[in-house]
């Protein structure tokens, strides 16, 4: 049996209202195709950004017997997991990032082991891995644009480095940020194409709120 014109119109209006309700419940990130899961991981196209709370950098430094300078600091790999400072190492791109940030008038400091120098490790695969960058709460409040500038510098460099290639490049970057309000430390990991690296700025801003 065919529905009347009034019934069809009523059905159409109900569908439109349902669609509107769905749109209103979606966050701006969801509308852009960003999918968030309960474990703090967001996927957006080819990239993954994960956020989690970790031990404080100062506490880990005391346990390992290393010195963490003020400012924006490159943290060695395994800093949050190893029990022995001799097992620490930096990713090979640490010095390149240091040179790049210096061009933007940002002085990158390195964690120092008081007894032996921390070696650099170069894994000869095609993923470009940035060092873990730590910014203290006090330094970040004095330099609110620091993250934005650093991300732009890294993103531009890596995009240029892989320009023209047939294989899609991959970048891994990690930021460790202190949150003043709850005195917690957050670790934000990015894994994805270089051109989307700047998108973690929003994740960092949201995490700091």
């Amino acid at each position: 049996m065919r529905s009347t014109k009034a019934e069809r119109r009523k059905k159409k209006l109900a569908e439109r209202a349902r669609h509107q309700r769905q749109l209103e419940t979606k966050t701006p990130e969801m509308r852009k195709g960003i999918v968030a899961s309960d474990d703090g991981t967001e996927t957006n196209g080819g990239s993954t950004v994960s956020t989690r709370e970790i031990d404080s950098v100062a506490m880990r430094a005391t346990q390992l017997g290393v010195t963490v300078p003020d400012g924006i600091v490159a943290i060695p790999n395994d800093f949050f997991s190893t029990a022995n400072a001799t097992e620490l190492n930096y990713v090979a791109n640490t010095l390149t990032v240091k040179a790049l940030l210096r061009e933007a008038n940002i002085e990158l400091q390195l964690v120092e082991n008081n007894s032996t120098p921390i070696p650099y490790i170069h894994n000869r695969d095609s993923t470009w891995v940035a060092p873990i960058l730590f910014v203290s709460a006090s330094f970040l409040s004095e330099n609110p644009h620091l993250i934005s500038v650093a991300l732009n510098v890294l993103s531009n460099y890596v995009t240029d480095l892989f320009k023209g290639g047939l294989i899609k490049p991959r970048v891994r970057a990690t930021f460790v940020i202190e949150k003043t309000s709850r005195k917690t430390t957050l670790r934000i990991d990015y894994d994805g194409p270089p051109e989307q690296l700047h998108t973690i700025e929003n994740t960092i801003k949201r995490a700091l709120q």
Partner: protein, 255 residues
Amino acid sequence: MSETAPWDSTAAMLRDAESVVQQCLPLTYASCDAQLQSDAINTLNDLAGKVNVFRQSAAEKLDEFAANTAFVCARYIGGVGRFLEMWLRFKSDEMNTAWNCLVDAQSEVNCALRFCDDGTLRYLAQSLQNAEGLLFPPQQFVSSSLSYTSSVCTICDGVYGECGHVAGRLYLGVMCSERLNNGVQLGHLALVDSPADKGCRVTEFQNGVHMHCSLTRLPIGKAVLHEKGLRFSAVALRSRPNSSNESDDSSVRPK
């Protein structure tokens, strides 16, 4: 004192280089005569030598544009030359060398594409990609982990990270990279899908009691049997021939 520059302008160099390369490109196919391909390689080598002299001369005059253009031009010439050499080696049944020529050609062309988005270069890159898939079986690549405590800049020999140069950028026709100082230690080897250098790969693998070539699949000798696993041989690190070093995709280079 360097030799006299073979061209008086960058445009003249590009015109001559383009003319020679366009004559060689039609020979980058399997059916083309080996002697013609060999002659083309010699012509390209001569041209690459002249472009290098021009690059050095431009660098002495602090002409950044000319020197950098010559660098990119040399990568283009090198890419075509290595592609031709790949065919020669392939037809001579020298598969390992043919593979290395292909990988070097890809490296040269990809490096040129970074600085010059050109249709011919893109076509060449795609042809090389197609050749890899069609001529050789899929390879298992290897990534080595190198540990070091200090490195120097290849532009100024200063301490890398302090000198102001950045790996992967061009400075007066020379690509900056980080040269590792003595005391480099090999940490581990990993089997990967996307290595920094496709020349680093498993070259021989054990199948039964024999070792087999990963390119020809032919048995190449008896395997030394091991109770707990299978043996394989791999190239973990390799140096690039001639000018290819300058276009190494990796920004870190062992001494």
